[in-house]
Symmetry: C2
Subunit: 355 residues, 2 copies
């Protein structure tokens, strides 16, 4: 493997000194980019794009080619590849978000679920990782990722997206044993999936717990965090002679940072509702922090974006341990020039905090 | 006015001793009740129902008639009556939520907005309050309410509901002066509206900050909490020889409880993501707490509902200062018998904490 030319991102995740605060954007390969929309038009539906390693590589590289400031690439894929590999039949209806042909309702449904073999059942993801890694050629590190067990479970039980997760929560409260079995199978699947990505070339991994923040404080500990902890304890933590940092991101998890910081990850993702300075004081030296600008700030003018970047950098303060990001994915309607202004502001305004 | 037969709710809001923990449910007069759906069928659209004091009174009383455990009634109305009275033209499209005919986009739009006179422009709400109060005849206290300035502003700028409040946030970041003028006008309007409700007979008032929790920590302080503080400082705090408690409810505001507790309200509403025992330790003796069962627990079986009620009561612990509620409104698909099981469990299981 080629030596890494820009390792700011990996260094900051381990709280090692950096020259400027590294930055990337969740969903940086996405619909806000005209070049992405053009690739999509050729590739057909979303899952075809994910399943084709050449296409996944092409769109992963697009934001890097446009924005020289990006300090990391992230595998282009979907969080729902694991349930799909379990035989649930993932598909996307235009404007409707993800749907599953099969829905998980009973203990018998859960008992029948297989644990996917990443190399056999998710080989297209492993191929995408190695293809992208080759194409990156040491430019920036590559991030692998998975959805959290709880987040995956919500889609499997609801059969798609949901506003209030009523079926999933009814199962959680009525039949906690069944829910625990489902989450345990998902935790095993995520562990081997992320390890597969690491062996294929992912240099850091992020667990997206998109819906953990919708749980009560008690249910979060038992039904989301416990399974992410289990995953982290089973991950390959060093590869190619270098640590492979793990980022845990519970959207809406700001109330629980102390316990998330104890779950074994190297870094926590923060949404924009947390003040990042407060978060740093709360987690102390245990973990690095990633985030946390409100993605809707990108709808404002470049001067306003720059002001907000400056505010967040000042709140975090001096020293390493901060990876700048949005507090959630960049949205399709954002002007790509605003994204560029955001990325430039992070590098330009952060140097003073690393002297 | 008739003497109040059940004042548990008002006493708990002021941290005075009670026999059992009082309970009510946000949106307790709502679509989950067949009797409500029947009234709706006769009344026509949602705003016609709100604007007719007899109908508003009828549906306000329905949950009280069904559930003898309810310790408070809440005015049946909509949070968007103020923007409607400002001339924005509120209407409801089936399955689409609230919409406005006019949208607030520029400083000139904001400058042109009038401050409604509650007795002239919102007389139908004042009439509903006095009609309900008469009908209640001292059975339980009546809660008046309003949306918070920030929450009302999001609907006025977006023209209806929104997933990410992009227009409102773009205005906030690009043109904070315009946003402050809008919020200031809304704060003035809410203050006189709530005072009108108090004079008409509301015995407690709640400010619903449904969307404040979507702001960054810094923006929440400046654009939501500051205006709620202003409202509280202008409210009539005693009427009919009794204190009129104020409840401030920012959904998703759990990270900011210390500052919300300092904003002058008597009680804070909590959504279900906060542990209520932690919240109590954080706010100390400053305020009472209202909440906070995940409303989706009502989709589970009565035994599971009872367990969750017991868990929350135990977390709050001994003594007054807790009004039990859901962490958000009850949803249309809930089985009314499950709501009954919830209310009974609160009274039955809470006596031990008030000995």
């Amino acid at each position: 493997m080629t030596a890494l030319k820009n390792d700011r991102f990996l260094r900051a995740l381990l709280k090692q000194p950096v020259d400027v605060t590294p930055v990337w954007m969740m969903r940086q390969a996405g619909r806000y980019l005209p070049e992405y929309r053009a690739s999509r038009a050729h590739a057909g539906d979303f899952m075809s794009l994910c399943m084709n390693p050449e296409f996944a590589c092409e769109v992963t590289m697009q934001p890097l080619d446009r924005y020289p400031q990006l300090d990391a690439a992230i595998l282009f894929s979907d969080i729902l590849t694991i349930p799909d590999a379990m035989g649930q039949g993932l598909y996307f209806e235009t404007g409707e978000g993800p749907r599953f042909k099969k829905v998980v309702s009973t203990l018998a449904d859960i008992e029948a679920l297989p644990i996917p073999d990443p190399h056999k059942d998710l080989g297209y993801v492993m191929d995408a990782v190695s293809t992208i890694r080759r194409e990156l050629n040491g430019r920036v590190p590559l991030i692998g990722f998975s959805g959290s067990p709880w987040t995956l479970a919500t889609y499997m039980v609801e059969g798609g997206s949901s506003k209030d997760f009523r079926k999933t929560k009814a199962m959680l409260y009525d039949n906690p044993q069944a829910m625990h079995l489902l989450l345990d199978k998902l935790a095993q699947s995520v562990t081997s999936y992320l390890n597969g990505q690491i062996m294929a070339g992912a240099q850091a991994v992020q667990i997206f717990d998109t819906w953990g923040g919708n749980l009560s404080a008690a249910a979060y500990q038992e039904f989301s965090l416990a399974y992410m902890r289990k995953i982290v304890s089973g991950l390959i933590r060093e590869h190619e002679g270098r640590k492979v940092p793990v980022i845990m991101f519970t959207k809406g998890g700001g109330l629980w940072l102390e316990s998330i910081a104890d779950a074994g990850a190297d870094a926590l993702g923060l949404d924009w509702t947390c003040d990042i300075g407060d978060a740093r004081r709360r987690v102390g030296d245990k973990v690095a922090l990633q985030g946390n600008m409100d993605p809707t700030v990108l709808y404002a003018k470049p001067e306003a974006i720059r002001t907000e970047v400056g505010r967040i950098l000042a709140s975090y303060g001096k020293g390493s341990g901060h990876v700048f990001n949005l507090g959630h994915g960049i949205t399709p309607e954002v002007n790509p020039e605003h994204a560029g202004a955001f990325l430039r502001a992070v590098h330009e305004l952060s140097a003073q905090y690393h002297e």
